[in-house]
């Protein structure tokens, strides 16, 4: 008969010369860890959703929901709410690793810093999309806007714009992780860099919320969003090692 200790010894003593896990497997591990942690505490998610709903409701008192003007700045209003609420999630991304020096444990492992960055970005992306999915119906209800008339294209713009916010926010969350005033520094660094992507997302969202399909003249904004995502994702992946290790 094997005792528990004997079984434990047997299983532990297997060789560890297994092939290194793939980048994708490591990205999934980090994303899964972050999402599990967040869904268990709901600290950032609840705060962000509550914040975005409250802001949308409060702004609705300031504007006449029937006015034509509202249509013109609907996209801008929506993306400002997404950006502000998003920073609450993004601030937590790397700061959760400072408790118990968890970041040291991750950096000492064979996982490249790029996998850590992409895993965290993926988790943040899911959380930001959840905030947007909750906020959109609230926006439609309080501002009397039928937001789903161009749903597939609107979804595409949301996916592209949210990735831009995610990748910049996650990168600067890593950069500011050791600062005591990181809650202040993150928005100050993120928003100026986000201007091109926000302009594109706001313009396209305003058009789509009006029920008008994207025309050839609007394609420049789509291209800008795609280029922004590609350029900043690539830059972040290359620079994250330097950011985390100095």
């Amino acid at each position: 008969m094997k005792t528990t200790e004997a079984v434990a010894e047997l299983e532990i003593s297997r060789p560890v010369s297994a092939p290194a896990p793939s980048l994708i497997a490591q990205v999934w591990t980090i994303a899964g860890k972050d999402l599990r942690s967040e869904f268990r505490t709901k600290e950032a998610l609840n705060a962000s959703i509550a914040f975005s709903v409250v802001i949308l409701v409060l702004f609705s008192f300031a504007f006449d929901p029937t006015s034509d003007q509202l249509q013109e700045f609907s996209g801008g209003l929506l993306w400002l709410v997404f950006s502000f609420a998003g920073t609450l999630v993004l601030n937590r991304s790397f700061s959760r690793e400072t408790q118990n020096d968890c970041l040291d444990g991750l950096l000492a492992s064979p996982m490249p810093a790029s996998a850590l960055f992409l895993g965290k970005s993926l988790a943040n992306y899911v959380l930001l999309m959840m905030i947007e999915i909750v906020s959109l119906p609230v926006f439609g209800l309080f501002y009397n806007i039928r937001w789903a008339r161009q749903l597939p294209m609107l979804a595409a713009v949301l996916l592209l714009g949210t990735w831009a916010l995610t990748v910049i926010g996650t990168f600067f969350s890593a950069l500011t992780v050791n600062l005591r005033i990181r809650e202040l520094m993150l928005p100050m660094l993120v928003y100026p860099l986000m201007i091109p992507a926000l302009m594109a997302a706001m313009t396209l969202t305003t058009v789509l919320l009006g029920g008008v399909p994207i025309t050839a003249s609007d394609m420049i904004w789509i291209k800008m969003l795609v280029a922004f995502d590609v350029v900043f994702t690539t830059l972040s992946v290359f620079l994250i090692d330097t950011v985390l290790l100095g």
Binding site: T4, E5, V7, A8, E9, L10, E11, I12, S13, R14, V16, A18, P19, A20, P21, A25, Q26, T29, K33, R36, S37, R40, T41, R96, Q99, N100, D101, C102, D104, G105, L106, L107, A108, S109, P110, M111, P112, L245, G246
Partner: protein, 235 residues
């Protein structure tokens, strides 16, 4: 051709602004050695250990683990690090924590490996308990298991016995003895000379960022634990 040393440090300097935390550190550690890294508070032990672990870059110089640059994947798969923090997630269970690290190290069957380690350190019955609900001693035992989970060839411990309860000390001493018997290399910084010098085969004393003494641990050091400091510290 001679096998590479477990650890080779060449001309390492570390500056924080104008302050030199480490100055021209050079050290070679043979495989299978247990090195006690000694020194007073602020001498530079933790800074050096963080550089050896690849958690901080030296301003100058190089560190090789088993012949590979410390930031290379090959080196990091072969080191286990236990620093001041436990590097465990409070809102995850003991099993989830160990499984994550088993996955990151590419172990086969990460869940089973995590379960086996939890049994080994006496936490099998609370495997699904959240770390935030654990006592300090339980958390420390779990942190030790995290550092050992991939059976590293080089173990880097910063003050491993500090604030451990009796059971955690017993677990750690058992694992260290087992690791030494298997020919693993251990480098540990410590203030607890008595425990460290009994385990150590070699000693390195750091004074104000420089190596003041590096050599074999002698019986004199064990019998008179203050001798090293009296001989090599000038204040």
């Amino acid at each position: 051709m001679r096998a590479p040393h477990a650890l080779e440090i060449e001309g390492v300097f570390k500056y924080y602004g104008d302050f030199a935390a480490l100055r021209n550190i050079a050290l070679r550690v043979d495989r299978g050695s247990t090195v006690a890294l000694l020194g007073r508070n602020g001498a530079g032990k933790t800074t050096l250990l963080r550089i050896i672990a690849g958690l901080s870059k030296p301003s100058e110089g190089s560190v090789k683990i088993l012949g590979s640059n410390v930031r290379d994947d090959a080196a990091r798969r072969r080191i286990g690090v236990l620093g001041h923090g436990i590097s465990l997630y409070e809102e995850l269970s003991a099993h989830e924590n160990l499984t994550i690290f088993a996955r990151l190290y590419g172990l086969d069957q990460p869940g089973e490996t995590a379960s086996a380690w939890l049994e080994r350190i006496g936490l099998g019955r609370v495997r699904d308990g959240l770390v935030r609900e654990f006592s300090r001693g339980m958390r420390q035992r779990l942190a030790v298991a995290r550092a050992f989970i991939h059976e590293p060839e080089v173990l880097l411990f910063d003050e491993p016995f500090t604030a451990l309860d009796d059971r955690a000390i017993a677990v750690l001493q058992g694992l260290l003895a087992d690791a030494h018997a298997k020919g693993r290399t251990i480098v540990m910084s410590t203030h607890q000379l008595k425990e460290a010098l009994v385990l150590a085969t070699d000693v390195a004393l750091i004074r104000r960022g420089e190596i003041a003494y590096a050599g074999t641990r002698t019986q004199q050091m064990v019998d008179d634990t203050g001798w090293l400091y009296r001989t090599y510290e000038d204040d």
